[in-house]
Amino acid sequence: MPKVVACFKWVVDEAYIRKGGGGALDFSAVDYKLSEYDRNALEEATRCRGEGGTVTALTAGSPEAAKGLKDALSRGADTAVFASDPAFAALDSSQTAAVLAEVIRNRIPYDLIICGEGSGDQYAQQVGPRLAENLGIPCISYVQKLTVAAEGGRITAERRVEEGVEVVEASFPVLVTVLPEINIPRIPGVKDTLMAGKKPVVTVKNEELPPLGAAKLKTLAMTAARLERNCELFGTAPEDIARFVTALQQKGVSG
């Protein structure tokens, strides 16, 4: 059964982002986590592995991202591969896809690559398709249901498209990106977590890879998203309610 690679990213936990002064964002108290969408990818990889298959968890990031390896390994992966370098702290999608492709091409035999539909931080939704192009393999994105053929060698995937669902088939090797609805990621049990530390981890350093290309997307600014409108407030007295509904009527939305 298939050799599966599940890609994951170690991201800022947005629950800890605070608003700084003047619309800036305060990252000083942030914690990190395995991107939620990638939990689905890891879970799906474990599901697809079947009898005799393997799951390799793969990530590229700065050395701090090593904290995510045990988490990924506790979710069903057999081994982890970590492309690690301080230079990998803030890669754009094109760079991430280039690094991952290089690592996979030369080090990880595979049939099926599973990515989350996007990352929890930037949510650019590009790495999966870009990685497929870099490897020259087909890409099926926004998958809500994935089945590996019983006899192996190919998959059937249900893609969510605007008008409904497109059910497609492709032979290995193939890359899919999965939606959060595809499965409910496990909460790893205590033994799963304790075993994780015993599983092999391969670290690939920047020097072992071809030079990183320049980023193709530049962030000019990252500020607190504001949705501020000037809110006119009303109480609950009958006059207030009447005034409120009159305002709705004036704006043409009273039905």
Binding site: K70, I187, G189, V190, K191, D192, T193, L194, G197
Partner: protein
């Protein structure tokens, strides 16, 4: 001195938090209201290896350290003190008793299913006339051929109505005083052992508590746990483990009280400002956060000592004493911060307040803890 949890401990704690948020938090109010033991949650806890964390793998446990178990009890208790307590007493007392004192046979037969969460353990010592004064117990176990016959009444048995394997303490030789009590493993359904009705309690209502009545209850000789007469020593060691668990439960309660108090005080506006801006309230919260920190480190340190295979009786008593009294102090304040809303069903702090009280009483009252500590310190 490194004040750091291992990566595994961090991950396990996070996972327990997620489990509690997902499965326990949503039903906590209901199981309190209905005094219900959530068997469906305990099934999931068993599946995740949460019911035998510090028990070695060969006996069905996860083979982790005691501190990891303590972290799990804390996180569970943060959502539901009853659920956290049930796990604590099952692992910390029932499982540990068999692990430390059982024969290979007994460990395979009783410890393994308990550590896997397939069977629930219970600790049966307290009697209507014997609480802190353990020696005033009257339940006897008389050897008759190849069995001991137990007669007597026990009370305040946690997991009484729901338990599978009961660790029961009875006099085998009253005359021998402190060396006259023995411990027996008695499976549910053994003729002559009857759980009483579930007590209607102020708090910890989901935890099932009852009397246990023994009338000519025949227990095979091989169910004697440890040596005849070693019962009290075993029980005291059992309490050491259990107390760290109660301390962890208390820490979970204080954390929940703090979370609720912070949230509410930021939302509640009086006199044009959130009440968190009032010094009276912010100081209550400062005190709560500070004592939570203290309780937490006392608790973790006691667990750490045990994992280092050092004596930890005194530290366990200190952690239990401090954390439980802090839990009561601060759940009172948490209700105060919530004002009238905190007094009503539906407010989490209402339940926390009722749950906290028992932590000052069971597994050795605060007074008993002071006796242990002073006994230790004044030697």
């Amino acid at each position: 001195m490194e004040f750091k949890l291992t990566e595994e401990q961090e991950l396990i704690r996070k996972n327990m938090r997620e489990f509690a948020d997902k499965y326990v938090e949503p039903i906590a109010a209901e199981i309190d209201e209905n005094s219900r033991h959530p068997a469906e949650v305990f099934k999931l806890l068993a599946e995740g290896d949460w019911m035998g964390i510090p028990i070695p793998g060969e006996y069905g446990g996860a083979g982790a350290d005691y501190l990891t178990h303590i972290l799990a009890v804390e996180e569970l208790s943060r959502s539901c003190a009853s659920t956290g307590f049930t796990v604590s007493i099952h692992v910390g007392i029932a499982c540990m008793l068999v692990l430390l004192n059982g024969t290979e046979e007994q460990k395979k037969k009783y410890l393994t299913p308990m550590a896997k969460g397939e069977k629930l353990g219970a600790f049966v010592l307290t009697e209507p006339g014997a609480g802190t004064d353990v020696m005033a117990a009257t339940t006897t176990a008389v050897l008759d051929g190849d069995a001991y016959v137990l007669n007597g009444t026990k009370t305040f048995t946690s997991n009484g109505p729901t338990g599978d394997f009961y660790m029961v303490f009875a006099w085998t030789d009253k005359a021998a005083g402190r060396k006259g009590m023995s411990c027996f493993i008695i499976p549910r359904g053994t003729p002559g052992m009857t759980p009483g009705e579930h007590f209607r309690k102020m708090g910890l209502r989901s935890s099932q508590t009852s009397e246990m009545v023994f009338k000519d209850c025949r227990v095979p000789k091989e169910n004697l746990l440890g040596k005849e007469g070693a019962g009290l020593v075993m029980a005291m060691a059992g309490f050491d483990h259990g107390r760290v668990g109660i301390a962890a439960q208390s820490v979970g309660i204080i954390q929940a009280a703090l979370d609720e108090s912070i949230r509410y005080s930021k939302e509640r506006v009086q006199f044009g400002n959130p009440i968190s801006r009032n010094q009276a309230i912010s100081w209550m919260i400062a005190n709560m956060a500070t004592e939570l920190q203290a309780a937490r480190f006392l608790t973790y340190h006691a667990a750490w000592l045990k994992d280092q295979k050092q004596g930890f009786s005194k530290e366990a008593a200190m952690a239990k004493l401090f954390a439980s009294e802090a839990a009561m102090r601060h759940t009172i304040k948490a209700v105060q911060i919530h004002g009238g809303y905190g007094y009503c069903k539906g407010a989490k702090v209402e339940r926390l307040f009722r749950d906290a009280k028992i932590t000052e009483i069971y597994e050795g009252t605060s007074e008993a803890q002071r006796m242990v500590i002073s006994g230790n310190v004044l030697r």
